[in-house]
């Protein structure tokens, strides 16, 4: 048997090519059906995300399809010139294909290493393939092993815990200050894009009380509509500050609009409760000296950016550990795969030799005196069975060892010839 992977990803192909090859649930089912018709006996799965489109296949080692045939089928399905696809595609066989899927599931091959969405996408791809009846014992086992690899990587490393966007770092800080973010009041001063993303992130965690204040009322209304937030006029800024738990500023002002004294006065009205201030404006909106106020946590864009850079660096430092875990899982799968590959031969060998043994025993039993008891006859049958079993033990173990070393095909051919088993599994 062989495992194949053919496809394109964010490193090998531009977005335009990936976009033309993308699958949804319905087209995945159709493509899987087409592949099964074209290559009977094979197992297939299609993984399609915004960063990759890949076809996985398990098929007989000597027969079709080859990776190029999978790519051609993919190109035909999407009516894309095969040549265009071929120049951007990669083709991976057995060990490389297994390693690739496990790395993908563990988010080691993602655009942002450690992102958590990919494991859900791989699971979805597997479910769709299984529902279409396109998977079998080889791909079932491979995908489940990949899920296990991903789980181990995420449990044993920090790879998925480090935040890698300004908005997510800001939210991380907020969750380390406040308990129950949903009851916190957010004030947005200005209407910048980064602020909008940060608020969207906070809202996804349940924050509901968002108020927008902006010099230009029209901009404030537009942003408030986009965020589902309330609006307060600019001249109520001090009151709005006093009412906030999280302040996000993102104005286009050339000078800091929020002095230390102004914020200190608001902080006093807030009874010195914890206050998270995210200054996402360039240049700054908030006087940096404000950070000295008790229970005020002020972060500007530079600082958040540095945290993001540091987190990315630390994530990459974890890649080696994660790759070690993936290598373990690849080895475990290949051990099973290679031994499983010789399974049919082992069954045939056992059946053949036990049949020979039974045949000879029956011949012997007919020649024995009639007064030979049934117990003695049964003992002879069992002894013969044990002898055959013992004779087979060493060759079968040796065959499994050969399989683990990747030398199974030659040994399989030899055994078939020696024991006249007929056919060629390879």
């Amino acid at each position: 048997m062989k495992i194949l992977c053919a496809g394109v990803n964010h490193q090998s192909a531009p977005l335009e090519v990936r976009g033309r090859l993308a699958f949804d649930r319905v087209s995945t089912a159709r493509a899987l059906s087409m592949l099964r018709t074209r290559f009977p006996g094979g197992e297939f799965a299609i993984l399609s995300t915004c960063n990759r489109v890949e076809v996985y296949c398990a098929a007989a080692a000597a027969g079709p399809p080859e990776a190029d045939e999978l790519l051609r089928a993919l190109a035909e399905f999407h009516e894309v010139p095969a040549g265009d696809l071929g120049q951007h595609a990669y083709r991976l066989a057995t060990e490389d294909a297994v390693r690739h899927l496990m790395a993908v599931a563990a988010s080691l091959d993602s655009m942002v290493i450690g992102e958590s969405e990919i494991i859900g996408q791989v699971k979805e791809a597997f479910v769709w393939a299984a529902e279409a009846g396109a998977t079998g014992k080889y791909l079932n086992r491979l995908f489940h092993r990949s899920f296990h690899a991903a789980k181990r990587v995420h449990a044993a490393t920090e790879i998925g815990r480090r935040r890698t966007s300004v908005a997510s770092v800001a939210v991380d800080f907020a969750s380390r200050i406040f308990s129950g973010l949903e009851s916190k009041r957010i004030l947005v001063v200005g209407a910048g894009d980064v602020a909008e993303r940060a608020v969207a992130h906070l809202r996804s965690l349940g924050c509901r009380g968002v108020t927008v204040v902006n010099r230009t009322a029209e901009h404030a209304r537009r942003l408030a509509e986009a965020l589902g937030a309330g609006v307060r006029p600019w001249d109520e800024l001090d009151d709005a500050l006093a009412d906030s738990d999280i302040l996000i500023t993102s104005t286009a002002s050339e000078q800091p609009i929020l002095s230390r004294a102004r914020l200190a006065a608001a902080h006093k009205r807030r009874r010195y409760a914890n206050w998270l201030i995210l200054d996402l404006a360039v240049p700054r909106d908030v006087d940096p000296l404000t950070a000295g106020l008790a229970n005020v946590y002020l972060y500007d864009l530079d600082w958040l950016g540095q945290v993001v850079s540091e987190n990315l660096r630390l994530r990459e430092g974890e890649v080696d550990v994660a790759a070690g875990i993936v290598a373990d899982e690849v080895r475990a799968y290949l051990d099973w795969f290679e031994v499983r590959d010789v399974g049919p031969l082992v069954d045939e060998l056992e059946t053949r030799l036990h049949a020979l043994g039974d045949e000879e025993v029956e011949r012997l039993l007919k020649r024995l005196p009639p007064e030979t008891s049934e117990a003695a006859r049964e003992e002879i049958r069992l002894a013969t069975h044990r002898i055959v079993h013992k004779l087979l033990h060493e060759p079968i173990e040796g065959l499994k060892d050969e399989a683990k070393r990747g030398r199974a095909p030659a040994t399989v051919r030899l055994l078939r010839r020696l024991f006249a088993l007929g056919g060629d599994d390879d």
Binding site: R161, R176, S179, A273, A294, E310
Partner: protein, 285 residues
């Protein structure tokens, strides 16, 4: 202390050190297996400490909380129990990082204390003495929890100020929660300690002469000073301006002084209180 009791005592200490090692490893890589091993080690330590106290109670024929050694062991056991009870809610290693070193320190301190049991004085009712010690110790335990929350608060705050996202920062509870726990523990501790102290002062008022205790006794003065700090802590905790870091620091200071008042006074000054006598009667200065 008998040889088996000594073995049990050091077994408890060894289990706590084991739990500390597991917690340190969990800071690097948290895993359910290590979490389980931490809990097993803590549970074994707790069982050893409870077994030790039970054995000493049986041998003395009275509750083993009269001597300062027993009280320190009891406080350690309460802290370990707290770790076990809170573990379903605080699944990360953060609580263990702060609680286990404190518990081990208390056990090391206990190891340096005299272990002879003392007979309770017959001048005062048995229940009143046990109630006094139990309430005071419960107050100290509650303040220990407040102190732990305060320490975690300061650690989290420092990381937030630096913008740090290290392994510990993500595993510590958030500031608001720690502040709430700190205040709650301090308030509960204040009530318990006040009741314990009140009971003690009541006994002293009634039987002071026969007990050899006066208001000028070092143990009584130090306990009242600690109570005054406790009052300050509770009052400041209610004032918005002092919320956060000052209260966290004050809780830690109050807990430290409380332990010193409970254990250390007998080392420094002569006292008629049984805790202090236990220390000086064993030949300590």
């Amino acid at each position: 202390m008998s040889a088996p009791e000594l073995i049990v005592f050091w077994a408890a200490a060894a289990c706590l050190v084991w739990a500390m090692v597991e917690v340190a490893l969990r800071l690097r890589r948290d895993a359910s297996l290590r979490r389980g091993r931490t809990l097993v080690a803590a549970a074994l330590a707790f069982a050893c400490l409870v077994g030790l106290l039970a054995s000493r109670s049986r041998a003395a024929g009275q509750a083993a909380i009269v001597t300062v050694f027993d009280a320190t062991v009891l406080l350690s056991a309460v802290l370990v129990l707290l770790l076990l009870v809170l573990s379903p809610w605080l699944r990360g290693p953060a609580l263990g990082v702060f609680l286990l070193p404190l518990t081990v320190t208390l056990l090391v301190l206990a190891a340096a204390l005299p272990t002879e049991t003392m007979a309770l004085r017959s001048e005062v009712p048995y229940a009143a003495t046990v109630g006094h010690v139990a309430l005071t110790m419960a107050g100290i335990a509650a303040l220990a929890v407040g102190g732990l929350c305060g320490t975690m608060y300061l650690a989290q705050r420092l990381r937030l100020r630096r913008g740090s996202t290290d392994r510990l920062s993500g595993r510590l509870p958030n500031l608001e929660r720690l502040e709430r726990w700190n205040r709650g523990a301090a308030a509960l501790g204040f009530v318990l300690y006040s009741l314990g102290l009140g009971l003690g002062l009541g006994m002293m008022g009634l039987k002071g002469e026969s007990l050899g205790l006066t208001f000028l006794d070092a143990k009584v003065i130090s306990s009242l000073v600690v109570w005054a700090i406790f009052v300050l802590l509770v009052v400041l905790g209610l004032r918005p301006r002092f919320r956060g870091r000052p209260v966290a620091w004050l809780t830690i200071v109050a807990f430290t002084l409380m332990v010193l008042a409970a254990v250390g006074v007998g080392f420094l000054w002569p006292t008629g209180h049984m805790f202090g006598q236990a220390v000086s009667s064993a030949g300590h200065p």
